[in-house]
Amino acid sequence: MNARRIVGPFNRVEGDLEITLDIADGKVVAAYVNSPLYRGFEQILQGKLPADALVLVPRICGICSVAQSAASALALADAAGVVPPPNGRLAANLTLATENLADHLTHFYLFFMPDFARAEYAGRHWHAAAVERFRATVGSAPNQMLPARARFMQMMGLLAGKWPHTLSVQPGGSTRPLQSSEIFRLHRTLREFRGFLEAVTFGAALEEVAAIESRTQLELWRAQAGGGDLRLFLEIAGDLDLWQLGRGTDRFMSYGCYNEGDRRLFPSGLWHDGVVPLDIAAIAEDISHAWYAAAGLPQHPAAGSTLPVAEKDGAYSWCKAPRLAGQVLETGALARQAVAGHPLARDIVEAAGGSVAARVVARLLELALVLPAMERWLTELAPGEPWCIAAQLADETSGVGLIEAARGSLGHWLTVRRGRIHNYQIIAPTTWNFSPRDAAGQPGALEQALAGLPASAADPLPAAIHHVVRSFDPCMVCTVH
């Protein structure tokens, strides 16, 4: 029996999301992902003073606000030709890392895991444990995680004044010089967060988790005593075979992030059966299936436009369809770690590509990888040395800011004419992952990952569909902005 079903609005995702599923013979034959809310930040930015972008762009999003600030500061720094002093670079790393780790934690505990407490899993041997830990509003896990997250976010009070919507992240560095006693307070906060992760999330030292090199080692580790929520998830993932669920394009992109002076903690690249350098010039945004006025062929974002139209034949989303040399890409923690060459991430994608379990494990792996780096950056801060230099913009200039938000690759493309913003185009991580079809008819990454899943025309949709959608940790307000 054939049917068309609309799923949405989704709870436990950031922003508005609606998915249309064409179902035949008990399976999803085609998925159409719709971002139903348009806001117009790129239009609002036109004509503004370039520095005012730092005030406006974080307000695209209440959860990845610093990522937007960081991309904007990088674009402005590129346009001004300035490089922040080491303290400014380290403070920017610490601020972005705090937000990214908090987002990973929130996704796992509040957005993703509650689906395993659903009644349809009542017969599974792990169900009682999942209900006790993760059932929405009453599970024991959120009551442990929320205070730990709030305490961790106090990093932002010292590093950035406040979160969200800080102005401390500037093209020339940080507005917030830290003194030694304050740096020790930040160490204390990190140590407390490490304690939470090691006791509650991993049941193991972060370094032990970071050292896991393969899927086989991961399963051996799971079988050890120690408890922790990752082990519970791995038990569920094995039982439900989430390692085979929700495969996308298997082309993974990362812009790279966390500037360490002569290198980045996670380098940039494109993984597809091996890593190749990323050619940013090959990015183009296709609007054939999005509600925007056609400006001819797909355009590179530096020359892109955002001209909303309410009616357009064939369009079904406000999300554009970014492509790299015409290819659909997946971005996020799994992509970042596969590109960066973490052995576990490489082993997973080489064996079975992207999957629900792979995406979730990569996020938790990043908690174990990035927190020790934050501890190192804190020790490298040098009170008394400069934190911020001036950044003077020419009246005619342009710049690009590329960073990795929690959810993946975020790019800002800025053009300044006569001292004002002439064009400002943004491609957010979920714009890549949740893009609609392009002119060649290629579905986006989530659309591909949903195709083939079991579904019926009348019965409640299986939780598997929710697992796949949420495994990407979508941020819909950033997607369209």
């Binding site: 348009y38 036109q46 730092l54 005030v55 990093m155 932002m156 009070g157 004044g161 406040k162 010089p177």
Partner: protein
């Protein structure tokens, strides 16, 4: 630029009206409560909801723009740790300087209604403590200030936006007086990113 025609529920900028109109009252008899701020402090939201749930928030507890007075009857300036710099008009000239942010870097903390520097954000933060201007985000129309957010507009060297309730002539006279009386410690520290001179230590006479 407002491409989506977004507006407030009961105000459009300073004008009463908005989506629901000025006469709208909810079932409990209250107008729309504007928990202002971009973003609002999370405590402002939870305390507003808790007060409503306990019947402790009535119309007289809202100010002229429908903001709960428990946070809107304060100024961001209250509790600012840069107060000594403000008193002596010892001003920051660039980002990461320790001085007052009002004269050059666009700070509107003396005009913005909120308790950010008493309640604090994320434990021990605020915009001013973070080294950047208050942009008045709890006030109607803050999003289009008509000047660069992080620069102070001036006429003849005098900031256009004066502290709340302060007559202009007084401000000018006091500013001139306090500038002439600024201790060198305060003046030097104001344009540095760390303390160059500590307050002097005096021993009591025996």
């Amino acid at each position: 630029m407002n491409p989506t025609d977004a507006c407030g529920l009961q105000y459009d900028g300073e004008a009463s009206g908005g989506l629901l109109g000025p006469e709208f009252r909810a079932a409990a008899g209250l107008p729309v409560i504007n928990v202002a701020g971009c973003p609002p402090h999370p405590d402002w939201i939870t305390e507003t909801l808790a007060m409503l749930a306990h019947g402790r928030l009535r119309a007289e507890h809202l100010d002229d723009f429908g903001r709960p007075r428990f946070f809107a009857d304060q100024l961001v300036h209250h509790g600012c740790p840069r107060n000594e710099y403000y008193e002596f008009k010892a001003s920051a000239e660039k980002h990461s300087d320790q001085g007052c942010l009002m004269e050059h870097l666009g700070c509107k903390g003396t005009q913005a209604h909120a308790d950010c520097n008493q309640r604090l954000w994320n434990g021990e933060g605020s915009c001013l403590r973070g080294g950047y201007a208050c942009i008045r985000c709890t006030e109607p129309g803050f999003e289009e200030p008509g000047h660069a957010f992080e620069a102070t507009p001036k006429v003849a060297g005098i900031p256009i936006g004066l502290p709340a309730d302060m007559p202009k002539a007084w401000f000018i006279a006091l500013a001139a007086l306090s500038k002439s009386a600024t201790p060198s410690r305060v003046r030097e520290n104001a344009t540095a990113d760390h303390q160059l001179r500590a307050p002097s230590v005096k021993r009591s006479k025996k």
